[in-house]
Symmetry: C2
Subunit: 158 residues, 2 copies
């Protein structure tokens, strides 16, 4: 797959980003480091909470989605990082053994007014579990490079 630039994406394009399975040990290891709430770190105690068992930290789920976004999108693009997220919703608990599949829908591309070599891609990212329930949705922003001018071509419109 060749490198894709900002102008190569059109609103409505859907990109399947692959899937990942999360384990009990990974949930606990991540949570001990970053989010040691009892329903993320202690299987027995988690059973007595409103979640009824161990669930992954939302930051863990988001980081797994980032990895799928990297492998299925960012590494094939002129990616320059991200200014942020417009909205994130953790919609369903993620549990040990869940297989999570991510999908990106392009919403809009916005060339920078001040920097003609780059722009923002707005997307909707959704990750579903094996029951096809959306567990997390993110309205994300990606900073992407624009296609470099080829010698002999007319300059890009401003």
């Amino acid at each position: 797959m060749g490198m894709r630039y900002l102008e190569d994406f059109k609103p409505g394009e859907v990109i399947e980003l692959g899937s990942v399975t999360i384990t009990r040990d990974e949930i606990i290891a991540f949570a001990r480091q970053f989010d040691p709430q009892v329903f993320h770190t202690d299987e027995a105690a988690a059973a007595g909470t409103m979640y009824g068992g161990l669930i992954a930290s939302g930051w863990h789920t988001g980081s797994l989605m980032m990895r799928l976004l990297h492998d299925g999108f960012v590494r094939h693009t002129a990616g320059l990082g991200s200014p942020g997220i417009d909205e994130l919703r953790w919609l369903k608990p993620v549990r040990p053994g869940d297989t999570l599949s991510a999908r990106m829908t392009v919403l809009e591309t916005i060339p920078s007014r001040s920097k003609p070599d780059r722009g923002i891609l707005r997307s909707l990212l959704e990750m579903r579990n094996q029951q096809d329930e959306v567990v997390v949705s993110v309205r994300g922003l990606s900073l992407l490079g624009r296609r470099p001018a080829t010698p002999g071509e007319p300059p890009r419109p401003a």
Copy 2:
């Protein structure tokens, strides 16, 4: 510190959440697992990017903020998880050796209409580096329990 419930927080309250120092090895280890863009994983290659050197994945920065939020807020509250984030902005790069200090400002508390034992706390979370620059800001949502009724007290207004 006693357990705090939804009604114990008032708009405008500021809670200092402590600080954490991030290392080069931590940046690379997190990024290899979750966000292997070159400016997060390869010090030499990162020097040639627009960031001029290694920077932390935004998901790493966010996860570190979650840890400070846990230690300085969540573990002293009747925390029930989070439905999401209304806005997140990665404002400045985070580099090896940076010391990051987090602060939470309470924006609003919203009792649930359907579940009288809980409600949402909206907050602004900001993490600053040692130059007092805000590196990440998050408008976050926390699900908190309400204070249980004490026997003999009048019932809570609906």
